[in-house]
Symmetry: C2
Subunit: 376 residues, 2 copies
């Protein structure tokens, strides 16, 4: 079993091509991690996630600690075996979901106490317990517990939460053991405030985390502001460690963030969009519920390697979505993950060949103009 390591293979401007090694295999970066909230990437078989090109998936500590429980998963042989995924897994710390889902949460220096959204039962997450849970799950990459605040936030509130997150980072670091080859990432907070982000990034950089995440973005601040924060935050993070932008995002967000030096992404967009009848393609997003697809014999993308994108007609997908059939959500979720992973493969190749900026501009133009334009 190899321990965690990161190798930078190429740079092109600020964009980076790299490779993460974990106890469960390698991750080609820039990487998109499909989200397996409850130990399943929604509506996909594990083999399909892998076949779509994903090297690593994300799972949610908050959800799994409540159901089925971290100790239970550990007794069953860990999360990899539980969800039948042999590759690397990154788990978040639960902080974000405590903010967005739990009821009656109460933050103290010690940690956060909250009520489960499932049954109202009371739970506590501390920096130490978050590490313990992620160790029980067997995550290859763990995230420190941080405090995620609602956005927009005042400077005072952002500073308080950022400093608390730094204290928690230190405690997480102390309680974490890398003996199994796993890694722990620190999370930069500070909302949209440059001095706060700077303080957070500089302090974390001195703590010897295996990688660094930028948290608290993509929560409604808009792409322009998000990219501005990346512009002043990412250069402060150690270049020899992977950089992970949490919860991002659209294809456009990913292209712009890679251009600013981000290596890892996760987002529910491709699977959530699939369940709602939306397909991501090289020429933008299609709403398969729309009647204009009803007689369209073309597949989503004849050039895709994903069966869901190259074999089913749009007319059939339209029918499945209209009829509320499982296969509609299944096929679109798979096709969307394959689109995202194909985008990442294109990004990686372009960086290796020193033409990322041209790739980014062309891809953004294709996405913006849409398919119908391209065909006229």
């Amino acid at each position: 079993m190899s321990g965690f390591s990161f190798k930078l293979l190429a740079t092109d401007g600020a964009a980076r091509r790299g490779e993460i090694t974990t106890p469960h295999g390698k991750v080609r970066t820039p990487a998109f991690m499909p989200v397996g909230t409850q130990a399943t990437v929604k509506a996909l078989y594990p083999e399909q996630v892998s076949q779509a090109g994903a090297d690593i998936v994300l799972a949610n500590t908050y959800h799994l600690m409540l159901r089925p429980g971290a100790e239970r998963i550990a007794a069953l042989g860990g999360l990899h075996r539980f969800m039948n995924w042999d590759g690397p897994i990154l788990t978040d710390s639960g902080g974000f979901q405590v903010m967005s889902l739990a009821k009656l949460r109460k933050v103290s220096d010690k940690g956060v106490t909250f009520q489960s959204h499932l049954d109202g039962s009371t739970h506590q997450l501390t920096p130490e317990r978050a590490v313990e849970i992620q160790t029980l799950l067997g995550a290859d990459i763990q995230m420190q517990l941080d405090e995620c605040i609602a956005s927009p936030a005042t400077r005072a509130e952002a500073m308080r939460a950022m400093r608390l997150s730094l204290l928690w980072a230190e405690r997480a670091r102390k309680s974490f053991s890398a003996a199994g080859g796993q890694a722990l990432f620190g999370i930069v907070q500070g909302n949209v405030f440059e001095d706060l982000r700077t303080e957070s990034a500089r302090t974390l950089s001195g703590m010897d985390f295996a990688g660094h995440a930028v948290g608290g973005l993509a929560v409604g601040e808009g792409q322009a502001l998000m990219l501005e924060v990346l512009d002043f935050t990412v250069p402060l993070l150690p270049a020899d460690r992977p950089r992970y932008l949490m919860g991002v995002g659209t294809p456009e967000d990913i292209l712009e963030s890679v251009a600013r030096g981000i290596d890892m992404f996760d987002c529910v967009i491709p699977t959530r969009a699939g369940r709602h009848g939306h397909a991501y393609t090289r020429f933008g997003r299609l709403n398969l519920r729309n009647a204009r697809h009803a007689d369209d014999a073309r597949p989503l993308d004849a050039e895709s390697a994903c069966p869901a994108a190259n074999a089913f007609s749009r007319a059939y997908l339209h029918h499945l979505i209209k009829a509320g059939e499982h296969l509609g959500a299944m096929a679109l979720s798979w096709a969307n993950i394959a689109y995202y992973e194909g985008l990442m493969a294109g990004i990686r190749e372009a960086i290796s060949e020193g033409r990322f900026d041209e790739f980014r501009r062309r891809t953004l133009a294709d996405l913006a103009r849409g398919e119908d334009f391209a065909e006229r």
Copy 2:
């Protein structure tokens, strides 16, 4: 392209082992046809249906004529291409769903007029239109339009509907063309009345249908009465044509019906049960929602060739079902179809080897005693 034919390969008591040839390939009988109501076997990819061992699927004329429409499917290249299924397809005539789903239906000698359960629009099905629709769909095996009545029924009502169904059988036969190698089956009606079933079976036998179905059973009359009807009906059907028991059934129903000379089955049980968290195994039906599975690391059936049955733990399936995850319904539906198809393979092998009765008795005993008994 080969036309339709049926070859009897072996008999064992009344049980028969055979092979149907269709324009889209062969069907090993006794056969179980997974139900693809709306042009998809619910929650399965077509490849999984095939991998589970199914040679043929069923699709519903009633559903498809309403949405997306038979003419639309024809314009898109037919049902096989539409649903990405290369193998044989049998379509029902719509009669049963008109009875069970449509609103304000009105039966005349001409046919049945009804309102769509989707949008209230008015539609007509005649014996001729049912053939036309199934021809547009490109079904390898078509079913005549029959009148399905509610059960229990009076003798007078059963006689009226049976005789009308015979008139419709004749009209279907006249309007059907076997030029493309497809086949049309007649349907025996007559409820539970021996003289009516006899009249129906004898009259249909003289009409030169490619195969015969027994309809109007498994609608609440109970297994004992159903088998009694088979006892006096099946021997009246030509031995050189396949016999299809519509809408049946449980594994126990299938074993008993094969013992009485039935060759083909279809039923929504395996997929519906899967969506509701139930798994069929060699040792009976399991409710995966039950808490006793929460810590059970065993797969549903380590000896199954189906990944959904041999790779996922019961604890994981329990978790998926409890969490309402798509993958729960997907995996259990797949495992159940694989169980059913495995049962049919076992039946076929036993008949070929002249030990069907022993196979039937042992399988029924295993199903009845349950798994926990077997393990004690």
